[in-house]
């Protein structure tokens, strides 16, 4: 049995999905977290249920790419049951989607999520709602698991009523529906006729092809006649009637309680009012930066000192146990890989992801989107681009996927390019902070971040001008602020950081052992020799740096880990000057997308654009390094 979770954006589908299936789907408190559907199987009473978590959708019109993904699954898979997930605190909006699902003949089970929050505000009569709509209605709290069992029971136990709710449209629309339906065979359409005709009337291209050309032509005529008579498109009237009905139903099942604004409401308002919201936003962003730098730094120092006191002896013993150059190579390889993980992944990347998780779940990010939208338009972007960029500070891969929340392809490409080139991912941040930030002083790092910010603004402006199109406008829901659930934050951090251990660590381990061997047997110098004029002459860096640059293509953090391996010490200040570290960090900050980011870009934008972006970023990185080297040595 196939079951699809469908609902407006940000109603908690993903977290409900995780609860039902036990499979981790990333969820956040902003619309558009899920851009591709996830699936997972659950066995219930001997039956296998396949659940699909779909991207949020307001209508079944397929406007943006995530809506198309949702609709595609619904129309092609034809799930046996659709769980419509609604935010219980605002039922109206979700009912409109439920109406459409019912019209199209889906067997719907309605899950009213966030029941705990709703209960504090008003009484929701789920039984009455179920009776009105003729479908099962279950109140759920996905975070705690309340109502999940009931929901799955309702899914398994089949329909409860023979008739589900039918929305009545105004008389003119009804007569048009009757006229268009006459003589059309339902089997040919593949959907209940009434629902399909309504979709056709709404101008939904995805439905047009289900009808004969005669009907399609008739529809065009009818739509223009309707327009002439009512001076408004028929879809406006259809929408109006659906909202009218939704409002009527909602008012029947919701008993409003008078509610005074709470402290949370007042704080929520302050974060949106420009006069207070902008200072708050700047403080939050600065706080994120400082936390990563200082909390990350403190954890790093602590971890490394513990590590040295515990493992230095055993690794020396290991080296002498195996003996000779092989012993040194092996023991150093393992030792330094562990150190690299402890000094980068755990302190900086982990801290960033925890903070990102808190920001995401608090519902704060959409406020930043709203406040910065005006400014973002100046560089050819949407305020919505902020979220992919923030995600990009974690990792470029999900950031590139997250650009799908942007409707236009052109903006997506600008956004992805800017993210890849000018937004440092957590690995790059760790490299910047862990090299020049640590050994040269925090101001060097700040200068690099400022350079990146200017690149972002200038490049954005240039791309915007080159592509000559106005950025599309913003329409995004702003959720209420809420206190993040530690469980969800930690779970997300775990999912996001898992790759560093599963993929990066073995790679690092093998790479470092191989390198150690090459170094121990004196082969390394022979390999890097030919690149010396470039690295030494142009960038002013030791020739072996080329190895770090090559590993930076695989994974950004490995470039720094390789530095540690190449020089045989984590105290980089002993082998490189602050200026050299600055040039190195600057090059790494804009350098090519890592192999994973490259692959995702390839999938999303095609070979041509991906190669352009890659070549551009290499050229930019080396030009910056080449310019910075002479300048900084003068300064």
């Amino acid at each position: 049995m196939d079951v699809a979770l469908v609902g407006n954006p940000n109603v908690g589908k993903s977290i409900l999905f995780s609860r039902i299936t036990g499979i981790g789907a990333i969820s956040s408190n902003y619309p558009g977290t899920t851009v591709e559907f996830e699936e997972a199987r659950v066995v219930r009473g001997g039956e296998i249920l396949t659940f699909y978590d779909l991207p949020g959708t307001y209508s079944l019109a397929g406007g943006s790419e995530d809506e198309i993904v949702a609709w595609k699954l619904l129309s092609e898979k034809r799930p046996d049951c659709v769980v419509a997930v609604a935010d219980a605190t605002r039922i109206e909006q979700s009912l409109v989607l439920v109406f459409q699902l019912i019209e199209l003949g889906y067997r719907v089970v309605l899950a009213l999520n966030f029941m705990d929050v709703a209960r504090k505000r008003f009484n929701v009569d789920t039984r009455r709602l179920s009776a009105i709509l003729g479908i099962p209605v279950v109140g759920t709290v996905a975070l705690t698991g309340e109502g999940i069992d009931e929901l799955v029971d309702a899914v398994v136990s089949g329909p409860i009523a023979r008739f589900s709710y039918v929305v009545r449209y105004d008389s003119h629309i009804e007569s048009i529906v009757a006229e268009l339906s006459s003589g059309v065979e339902e089997e040919n359409v593949g959907f209940p006729l009434r629902g399909a005709v309504l979709k056709l009337l709404e101008g939904n291209e995805l439905f047009a092809t289900r009808f004969s050309e005669v009907v399609q032509r008739k529809t065009v005529d009818v739509r223009s006649i309707f327009r002439e008579r009512h001076l408004e498109d028929i879809e406006v009237h259809i929408g109006r009637d659906r909202y009218g009905e939704a409002g009527k139903v909602a008012s029947e099942v919701i008993g409003k309680l008078d509610r005074l604004p709470t402290t949370a409401d007042r704080i929520s308002d302050l974060t949106l009012r420009p006069r207070t919201g902008i200072p708050i936003m700047l403080a939050v962003l600065l706080g994120v930066f400082l936390s990563v730098v200082y909390v990350g730094g403190a954890i790093e120092t602590g971890l490394l000192s513990v590590y040295h006191s515990v493992f230095d002896g055993p690794f020396d013993a290991l080296a002498s146990l195996i003996g000779g150059q092989t012993g040194v190579a092996l023991s150093e390889g393992i030792d330094l890989s562990l150190q690299a993980i402890l000094s980068i992944v755990i302190p900086y990347i982990l801290v960033f992801y925890v903070i990102l998780g808190i920001l995401e779940d608090s519902g704060y990010l959409p406020r930043v989107v709203a406040l910065l939208d005006g400014v973002m338009h100046k560089i050819g972007l949407h305020g919505r681009a902020i979220i992919p960029m923030m995600v990009g500070i974690g990792c470029n891969v999900p950031a590139i996927l997250a650009t799908r929340v942007i409707e236009s392809k052109r903006e997506r490409l600008i956004l992805a390019t800017l993210t890849v080139v000018a937004v440092p991912c957590s690995a790059q941040v760790a490299v910047i902070l862990g090299t020049v930030g640590r050994f040269g002083g925090i101001w060097y790092a700040v200068v690099i971040f400022l350079i990146l910010l200017s690149i972002l603004l200038i490049l954005g402006r240039l791309l915007h001008k080159a592509m000559k199109l106005e950025p599309s406008s913003l329409a995004i829901e702003i959720p209420e602020l809420s206190v993040p659930h530690p469980r969800n934050v930690l779970f997300k951090t775990y999912v996001r950081i898992k790759d560093f251990f599963i993929i990066a660590f073995p790679l690092l381990l093998v790479g470092s052992i191989v390198l150690e061997f090459l170094a121990q047997y004196g082969i390394l110098d022979a390999i890097v020799g030919p690149f010396a004029p470039f690295t030494e002459g142009f960038l002013g860096l030791p020739a072996v740096i080329i190895v770090a640059l090559v590993f930076g293509i695989l994974r950004k953090e490995m470039s720094m880990q390789m530095l540690v391996l190449l020089f045989g010490t984590a105290e980089l200040s002993l082998v490189l000057t602050a200026d050299q570290l600055f040039v190195f960090a600057l090059v790494m900050a804009t350098y090519v997308p890592c192999i994973a980011a490259f692959t995702v870009m390839l999938k999303e934008f095609g070979l041509k654009d991906t190669l352009k972006v890659t070549a551009g970023s290499i050229a930019l990185a080396f030009s910056l390094g080449g310019i910075a080297h002479p300048i900084i040595s003068v300064v």
């Binding site: 209508s59 109206e92 009218g244 308002d269 406040l371 305020g383 959720p479």
Partner: protein, 238 residues
């Protein structure tokens, strides 16, 4: 202002004389469910007051004055019927009875606003034409509604219509997010650098870009005076 029974009579005669023939007293009585005597008495009274031309045995026809009153009431009746059926979802029969009662009570201002809200409907639910009003539709349709993008923070109002001439994708997006005629909307904040408006619609808060907001037309629920002032200000912007 003419009284309720005057309006009832004139409306009835309006219907009976639709084919161009005078209305007989007996037909009037039958239709209004009263005795022929009182019908004849009332017709004579209305004739004296200048609403009717009445000739014994031939019947009554509306004078210009009578026609104006009857048309007005008919307009209100059919407009109300459309409103009751299309917006409130009432069935046709109930709506007719309800409209019969309301038509005498509804003010001209409300009539105008209902007409605007429904975007000047031409036919009532039964398919009969709704008599047109004297005002010019073009000026009226745009008058008490302003673009959502021009409202100040703290302003509220009801959505009258969406501007459908351009960008169907945007209109669809607006509809799907709940911006449909008849819903209440309020502007909470206007963000700097021509950024989006933060609006509240239903229980949902939405950051809406100005070009989206300019497609949504809202009638302010404030008094007409403040409203006109604002509009003049609004015009200054464009």
């Amino acid at each position: 202002m003419s009284g309720e029974s005057t309006e009832e009579y004139l409306e009835c005669i309006f219907d009976l004389t639709k084919e161009g023939l005078p209305a007989k007293t007996n037909d009037i009585a039958a239709r209004l469910n009263i005795s022929a005597g009182s019908a004849s008495e009332m017709v004579q009274k209305l004739s004296r007051e200048g609403y009717l031309d009445y000739e014994r045995y031939a019947g009554a026809v509306l004078t210009e004055r009578g026609k104006a009153v009857a048309t007005k009431i008919k307009r209100k009746h059919r407009l109300l019927e459309s409103f009751l059926v299309n917006i409130l979802g009432m069935n046709k029969k109930e709506s007719h009875q309800e409209a019969c009662r309301l038509e005498h009570a509804v003010s001209d201002e409300s009539e105008k606003r209902i007409c605007q809200m429904m975007n000047n409907p031409e036919l009532c639910p039964d398919g009969d034409p709704i008599p047109v009003c004297e005002e010019d539709c073009a000026s009226c349709a745009s008058e008490p509604s302003i673009e959502l993008s021009k409202m100040g923070s703290g302003d509220e109002g009801m959505i009258t219509h969406l501007k459908c001439d351009e960008e169907p994708q945007k209109i669809r997006k607006l509809i799907s997010m709940g911006f449909v005629p008849g819903r209440e909307v309020s502007v909470e904040e206007r963000t700097p650098a021509k950024g989006p408006l933060v609006v509240r619609i239903g229980d949902t808060r939405i950051a809406l870009g100005r070009d989206y907001a300019s497609l949504v037309h809202v009638s302010s629920s404030r008094s007409d005076e403040t409203f006109r002032r604002r509009r003049r200000k609004g015009r200054g912007h464009t």
